[in-house]
Amino acid sequence: MENFYEYLNGFTIIFMSIILEAIPFVLIGAIVSSLIQLFISEKTIRKLLPKSKIKALVGAALLGIIFPVCECAIVPIMRRLVKKGVPLDVAITFMLAVPIFNPIVLLSTYYAFSNQPQMVIYRGLLGVIGAITIGFIIGRFNNKDVFKKGVLAENQACCNHDHGHDHEHDHEHHRSHKKRNRFVEIIDHTSSEFFDVGRFLIIGAFLSSIMQTFVPREMILSIGRGQISSIIVLMIMAFALSLCSEADAFIARTFVGQFTQGSIIGFLIFGPMLDIKNTIMLSATFKTKFVVKLAIVISLVCFSLALLFNIFIK
């Protein structure tokens, strides 16, 4: 019985800590998303988007350097960009690369691997390559019907609510566009965006906490340390632990010397792209079929990059 309480205690702390850690950033993402909704029109997006697909993908992958966003905050922003006309593959690349290729994560990776600074380069480079590759592959699919119902509703400048909070409009709003009404709109959009993504965050955090509390590390690690099995093991770990990309490097460090370097890099790029928490959050936006497809592509690309690393670089 005492054991149960110990686990419940540990579970609650981890669960609450993930939520406390992530909620501010989901909120920031929702605010940024509302600002984009209000102040950046589709026309602007169309103008800013490079004509060549490759340039667009590369640009999207590198944006994180000036626009650091963590994997929680990126979901509402990515949604909004797609609604504003950014093509799906570019948005996916953006979503996958930014949580890896940004100054905060690269810096924390540097701290964690302070006696092997090349890990920062490996992580950044392979993260970007992976994101571009995945975006490119997704772009080749027929992505006609990937969004959940209601997500891509009409995209007017004001008083557009795709979900939830119905309220009576005072149609004077449309005409005057006073500053105060803009503020109100930002609040409203933030509120509903936060609701939409936040509930999946909580579900994801719940599941991740279960994995962290109840699944013994040794069980996963015992699967193997070979060239291939080590990569699979650490990718499973990354998925199960659902760590923030700012902190996962410190956990990754505990694998050094016991697992292949390629598998550690796999952990470092796969984790921010796909884990329990953000897979659930993706379901806020995309239909399950697409989420599964995306998950498979992400897994295969990360696995391949880690394997190639093990073969050619080490």
Partner: protein, 279 residues
């Protein structure tokens, strides 16, 4: 009279509950149980934004709606209810150990070179950067490492947290140099499966940004005297720094680790702040 809009009310309740709970965590300081002190400013930000959201939400309460009740609102209440009911106060070493335990080794194994035919398997070879192999019989040789500070203590540590980190760091970064010196360290007892009878780790919890990434960090100790080792008991040990070969469950073969040959062990109390913060 307009019918009350239950969905809007629910969202108001959710926002309000979060403001109340987060504020109480900030107020009674319990927030550092969950997240790194440097992150508290984000929670303050969240509370402020939520209050702004609430100010708008109250205007929507009277709106008419025929929408069904959304159960998703209840999802938001689950963590708050859970945390309030369970009211966690301390971490459980068992759960945190699941993420990994950093026990003071000589150096980061990536730089370790081993000259021994039995020991090396292809996987391990992958992880080592090849530096000069000094052939000796089968004694693992350890490459000279510049005394790099691994655990530079950040400003958020309490005084004894900082001392703990510095001690660990001194031992980790220059084990060969300080062998034989006396040291003292204070932490809780961590016992891992597979430890011998008189082996234990004096450890603390290390946090990088939230409890979900917390790890146990400590140093292996050995005490032959009469003492009942209970897990999670806080102790202060004094002893001589030594090294030993040790193989933990995680690893495939033995590696050299720091060890304190304990001369004296005293019971002590858990400090206010459970965590040490390297950054």
């Amino acid at each position: 009279m307009k019918k009350a809009n239950i969905n809007e009310w629910m969202w108001l309740v959710v926002l309000f509950t979060y403001v109340a709970y987060f504020s109480s965590l900030l107020g009674n300081g319990k927030i550092t149980l969950f997240i790194h002190p440097k992150m508290t400013k984000y929670i303050i930000f969240t509370v402020v934004i939520f209050i702004i959201l609430i100010s708008q939400q109250v205007k929507k309460l009277e709106s008419s709606s025929v929408k069904k009740f959304k159960y998703s609102y209840l999802i938001f209440l689950v963590p708050i209810i859970l945390a309030t009911v369970v009211n966690p106060t301390t971490l459980s070493a068992k759960v945190i150990a699941n993420k990994g335990v950093e026990i003071s080794k000589q150096i980061n194994s990536l730089e370790m070179t081993i000259e021994s035919s039995d020991v090396v398997s292809s996987n391990i070879e992958d992880s080592f950067t090849g530096t000069d192999l000094i052939p000796t019989d089968s004694i693992p040789t350890v490459a000279q490492q510049d005394n790099e500070v691994q655990y530079e203590s950040s400003n958020y540590n309490t005084e004894d947290g900082a001392i703990f980190l510095e001690t660990i760091d001194t031992i980790t970064s220059n084990l060969t140099g300080i062998l034989g010196q006396e040291t003292e360290i204070e932490g809780f007892i961590y016992l891992q499966d597979g430890f011998e009878e008189n082996q234990f780790v004096v450890s603390r919890y290390m946090m990088n940004c939230c409890a979900a990434d917390a790890q146990i960090i400590g140093i292996l100790c050995y005490y032959t005297g009469d003492f009942e080792f209970k897990a999670d008991q806080w102790v202060k040990v004094t002893g001589i720094i030594d090294k030993t070969m040790y193989k933990s469950i995680d690893q495939e073969e033995e590696i050299e680790m720091a060890l304190i040959k304990v001369a004296e062990i005293q019971l002590s109390k858990a400090p206010e702040d459970l965590y040490v913060y390297p950054y």
